[in-house]
Symmetry: C2
Subunit: 256 residues, 2 copies
């Protein structure tokens, strides 16, 4: 397929790379930011454009991989009629593209992307939605070429999936950040925490997280939790989070 | 070394196995629970005892690997004089063993252990403390035989380290649990979440978590966060956690 990438961020970079590796041709990279457009175009060995009027209208697919709150604004400026246009967001409904083209949909790769870290796209779940059966079919075939895990899902379910991912990924990474803050305050190295972080993630690859919960909360060890809360008494945010999360674990797990 | 294991849970199991693999001899497993004592003794091919009076007093090391709130009670019943006794807890001070023996300390392996999952002990940080320089030296040497990452640390620092681990491991696993709950409610498979969980943990093996934060909070995407909060409006606990954690991410990351 001849594909135009609209966007130059983490998702555009990883998705563009995966599509190219699967044999597709990225004929243009468009971005409002000229430097970013040129960087990604150089990486994909293709042309960079920054004007809407310079976008090639004869590609077979247009992938709009921009920030969620920019999707609607940018889409409305595309001079499309029936070009196949998809966005890549978990949180935004497909209908934001209604009226922009006769053929539209979503390709949402459920992963946390950083430009600086390569990843194996084959194991990334790719969620697909389309406004017509032919669109769904086409997008599903394409998704199957870059990933071994493809699912058709409507916008409502995709939104729920995205909320679940915020808990499992974004909030988790923030807990790592808080953990690092505690260590830094004590002059301790974050390397101490890296193995337990890996093991915690690895465990739930085989088990359900409810089966492998450990720590003071799961055994309702009130003394330890109180000692920890004492330690956190001068950090109101950490104190409150500790209390809420521990109470959640106790409620979920502890059968007196 | 001839070692007696006091306890039969996850830590006793993994630590006993690692010590045996390093060439040490577990001469007894003591546990109040006869079935558990026998199970672990069978695994380690040694003797199980349940009476304090049957504990062999001529071992070179006694490892008390029991629940935090049982350490003091059990230690006080041990008929020791100068036997080398350690506990394995992150949260409990070394001084809980004061008066039980003339030689005591702590060997705290910083990891989340499940009996059902084998792990590579070599990468587990092992934290050591002792009441005398000779004890520290002896425990450090032993720790170095089972792990490539050993650190001497006092009880106060170890407590802080344990709090940091609760955030990075126990609370993280609970977020996985909440994520699974959201998926279950929608009839979606937790397998969808497993790759992003692994990737989130893998990223911070190389980077600082603050460098790789993603999601709506880090870009202060108010619309997406509001859509997510709407979705969670009938789950007060999830709604409150979402708000607190998102606000934390915004405060930490967003520079308007």
């Amino acid at each position: 397929m001849k594909i135009v990438l609209l966007g130059s961020g983490n998702v555009a970079t990883h998705l563009g790379t995966a599509l190219q590796e699967a044999g597709h041709v990225i004929i243009q990279v468009w971005s409002r930011d000229e430097v970013h457009a040129q960087q990604l175009a150089a990486l994909l060995n293709t042309q960079a454009v920054t004007d809407f009027v310079k976008i090639d209208l004869h590609a077979e697919l247009y992938i709009l991989a921009v920030k969620d709150d920019a999707i609607g604004t940018i889409a409305s400026q595309l001079p499309f009629t029936d070009q196949l246009l998809v966005h890549t967001s978990g949180a935004v409904g497909m209908d934001v593209l209604e009226g922009v083209s006769e053929n539209y949909g979503v390709i949402y790769p459920l992963q946390t992307f950083s430009k600086s870290k390569p990843l194996n796209f084959k194991i990334v779940p790719v969620i697909v939605e389309g406004n017509k059966p032919e669109v769904v079919e086409k997008l599903l075939r394409l998704a199957g070429e870059i990933s071994g895990h493809t699912v058709v899902m409507d916008s409502e379910k995709r939104k729920a999936l995205h909320v679940a991912a915020v808990f499992a990924c974004n909030f988790t990474n923030y807990l790592y950040t808080l953990s690092e803050q505690i260590l830094e305050k004590e002059g301790l190295d974050f390397n101490l925490m890296r193995p337990i972080i890996m093991e915690t993630a690895e465990k739930v690859q085989q088990f359900s997280p409810g089966q492998v919960q450990t720590g003071p909360g799961v055994r309702n060890d009130i003394e330890t939790m109180q000692r920890h809360l004492d330690y956190l008494k001068n950090s109101p945010q950490l104190h409150e989070l500790y209390q809420m999360l521990s109470q959640g674990i106790v409620n979920f797990h502890y059968k007196p």
